[in-house]
């Protein structure tokens, strides 16, 4: 029951990842997914186990790491743009089969 909003959000994230062309947009939808999970942690902690703080901490760590991930991802995207002059993910298919 607590899960519903976060799961919807997660679903949106996945959908965005799979449909969007621009890599930045994809990155955003990834953020969406991560945050939906963070919501899970917080909600569970708040409503199910109010007497402890583990979930909160975990959420904090997750956010921090997500930030790091985004940073690296952005860096890579920029590099790709430098080298290949494109941000359209459907064109990044040189390596296959």
């Amino acid at each position: 029951m607590y899960l519903i909003p976060s799961l919807i959000m997660f679903g949106c994230g996945v959908y965005g990842f799979i449909t969007r062309k621009n890599m930045i947009a994809i990155l955003i939808s990834l953020e969406l997914m991560l945050n939906s999970v963070d919501i899970n942690f917080v909600v569970f902690n708040r409503f199910l186990y109010p007497d402890q703080m583990d979930g909160m901490f975990f959420a904090l760590f997750a956010i921090a790491i997500a930030a790091a991930e985004t940073a690296v991802a952005i860096a890579i995207i920029i590099n790709i743009y430098r080298v290949a002059k494109k941000v359209d993910i459907s064109e990044i298919t040189k390596l296959k089969f």
């Binding site: 996945v14 799979i18 993910i89 990044i92 298919t93 296959k96 089969f97």
Partner: protein
């Protein structure tokens, strides 16, 4: 006295084989031949001394209350099958083996001697492979002697194989001529087929009796047969089957119908070889085998009747064919077949019912007697043929005619042979054949008459051959060839010796030596039979004289009259074609080829198919690796969900 020295009869020829085979190549050809002949002479001497000591030995142990005992000179364990079934190699001396020793060594020695001349060209220069020839002769002698002195049925089988191989090697001696190769192959494979049955027979027999040993088998044939406890297979008792199979083995070697087809072709070999192997010794191995197991056969009338029918039919069949052959060696070959069939029949007609094994064993004695005499005069005939062929370089009697005044000695020797085989007293053949006919009449008049007819035909075709070779018309010498003449002494001497034997051998009181149970059997000539048989023989001879003494049209008229019969007989009633059809068209084309195809295409195909399926599968799924991140993640996500969902379905529901 002891028979310790008897081992030499095997050791010496074997050694000579190895010696001539390995060292002979280094030695000169002539010397090789001479050495071989001398060694054979020594063997001859040993064999005679063995036989004579056996028959006339003064040792008390040998003859106990009138029964001549058999002597087990050697018996070595060679191969252990089970605790009971042990193959032994040894030397067993009893009347028939002693008699065979004499036959084999005599003929073999004479052939050695004869070959010195025959295997050389006109100028006495030995031809190629002279050493090989003598080595093989020694090998054959060894195998044949080993066969006759076998102490157990398996040793006999072993030497059956050995003689088979050595005859293969000797027939194929001229290994460059396709005919010889084909003939040797045929001879080996046909006899091998027979040996297969022999083997199966041995397997069955030995399984029930739990022994290979002749002495044990002969000790009490009834109990040996009863070990099968009356088990039957397809109606007949198991033992009957076993004995029949063993007989088939013998029939292969002895060229009984329908396994006779190899013998005529075997004449591709050198003629002395034909004389030794395919007239005198090896071809009687089958008869010898049946004689060995005679007590068992006598008790199994089922098997015995088969022997009888096959023998009698073959005798007539072969005689019929022999009447029209133009190749003298083939004609002689068919006459051999017919004569061996005679011996088989003689064995088969004897019985233990009525007067009991001793009296009933007349046929047995007669058969052995005929074996002896036939070996002599048939060898004589073949050696004569050899001399003739060597003189005119051809087997076809159309190239001969009227050789009488060129080769008198040969001619006379041949004539003696013919008289002997035709059964004209006082020549050897008469006595033995007479006994056989008596035995047949005792069995039933039908067989008596039947065999008498065969005897008549024998007389006819033998004299036909004789006249066509030596008279018929004047011999025209082809230019470039010098006139044929009698050969040097090494070739004529054997002829003379054999001719003499053929004249006198009949007077040997054979019954005193060779009988079923070792007791002497006094033979009284049965005059009606004797006279009738002589008359039939004379009729045959007269017919032959009428038709073939002087050149005339009668044969061709008859030929054109009975054209169908004549061609059929001339083509040996198309037995070879039948075999050709079966082997090539059926087995080769319809079995081997398809199997090979099946192997290459079906079985191999399956294996390759597996491989191809793998590669094609890997090619099919490569689209999965499309290279776009989104599809990867899609697969990823769906995979995760599916993993969860399916497990939920399985576990929770």
């Amino acid at each position: 006295m002891s028979f310790d020295f008897s081992i030499l009869v095997l050791a010496l020829p074997l050694f000579m084989f190895l010696f001539l085979g390995l060292v002979g190549v280094k030695m000169g050809k002539k010397i090789t031949g001479v050495v071989g002949t001398i060694a054979m002479g020594v063997t001859l001497f040993i064999c005679y001394s063995i036989a004579l000591t056996y028959f006339f030995g003064t040792d008390q142990k040998q003859v106990i209350d009138g029964v001549r005992q058999s002597v087990l000179a050697y018996d070595w364990n060679w191969l252990t099958f089970t605790d009971k079934l042990v193959v032994k190699l040894g030397i067993l001396l009893d009347p028939i083996s002693a008699m065979m020793l004499i036959v084999i060594s005599t003929i073999s020695f004479l052939v050695h001697l004869f070959s010195l001349g025959y295997m050389s060209d006109e100028y006495g220069k030995p031809e190629k492979g002279f050493q090989r020839y003598y080595a093989f002769l020694a090998l054959f002698t060894f195998s044949m002697l080993g066969l006759v002195v076998a102490t157990n049925i398996f040793q006999m089988f072993i030497f059956f194989e050995m003689v088979g191989v050595s005859s293969y090697l000797l027939i194929g001696f001229y290994y460059t001529s396709p005919a010889a190769i084909h003939a040797s192959k045929k001879a080996f494979i046909v006899t091998r087929l027979a040996d297969l049955f022999f083997l199966v027979g041995i397997m069955v027999l030995s399984y029930y009796t739990n022994t290979f040993d002749f002495k044990e088998l002969m000790a009490s044939p009834e109990s040996a047969l009863s070990t099968a406890h009356g088990q039957t297979f397809m109606g007949c008792s198991v033992m009957a089957w076993a004995l029949t199979f063993i007989f088939i083995g013998g029939a292969g070697k002895s060229a009984m119908y329908p396994l006779h087809i190899w013998l005529p072709d075997a004449m591709e070999g050198p003629t002395p070889v034909s004389a030794l192997i395919h007239a005198a010794t090896m071809v009687v191995a089958g008869v010898f085998l049946v004689a060995r197991l005679f007590p068992l056969y006598v008790l199994e009338q089922g098997a015995m009747n088969i022997v009888l029918v096959v023998g009698a039919f073959t005798a007539l069949y072969a005689a019929a064919i022999a009447c029209v052959q133009s190749d003298i060696k083939r004609a002689l070959a068919f006459s051999t077949i017919s004569q061996i069939a005679y011996m088989m029949t003689a064995l088969a007609v004897s019985s233990n019912v009525g007067e009991g094994i001793h009296e009933g064993g007349l046929g047995y004695m007669a058969s052995m007697f005929h074996l002896f005499t036939h070996a002599m005069f048939k060898a004589l005939l073949f050696l004569c043929a050899g001399a003739i062929i060597h003189a005119v370089h051809s087997n076809e009697n159309s190239h001969m005619h009227g050789l009488h005044k060129y080769m008198p000695i040969t001619s006379i020797a041949f004539l003696i042979g013919c008289l002997a085989i035709a059964g004209i007293p006082p020549f050897a053949g008469f006595f033995s054949k007479d006994e056989i006919l008596v035995a047949c009449y005792e069995k039933s008049p039908l067989w008596g008459v039947w065999m008498a007819i065969v005897a008549g035909m024998t007389a006819f075709y033998m004299f036909r051959i004789y006249y066509l070779i030596f008279h018929w018309k004047k011999h025209e010498v082809k230019e470039g060839h010098h006139a044929p003449h009698d050969m040097q002494w090494t070739m004529t001497l054997p002829l003379i010796i054999l001719a003499v034997i053929s004249c006198v051998a009949g007077f040997i009181p054979f019954g005193d030596f060779v009988t079923v149970d070792g007791k002497p059997l006094e033979t009284h000539t049965n005059w009606p039979v004797a006279i009738s048989s002589v008359c039939i023989a004379l009729v045959g001879i007269g017919l032959a004289t009428k038709m073939y003494y002087k050149e005339n049209k009668l044969p061709s008229q008859l030929k054109s009259k009975f054209n169908g019969l004549w061609t059929a007989a001339y083509n040996r009633f198309y037995m070879d074609e039948l075999y050709q059809f079966i082997t090539h068209k059926i087995i080769f084309q319809k079995i081997c080829k398809p199997i090979a195809w099946f192997d290459r295409h079906i079985i191999d195909g399956t294996m390759n198919l597996l491989a191809d399926m793998t590669t094609s599968a890997s090619f099919a799924i490569r689209k999965l690796q499309s290279g776009s991140i989104q599809s990867y993640v899609l697969v990823y996500f769906v995979g995760a969900i599916l993993l969860a969902a399916i497990t939920m379905v399985i576990v929770l529901i």
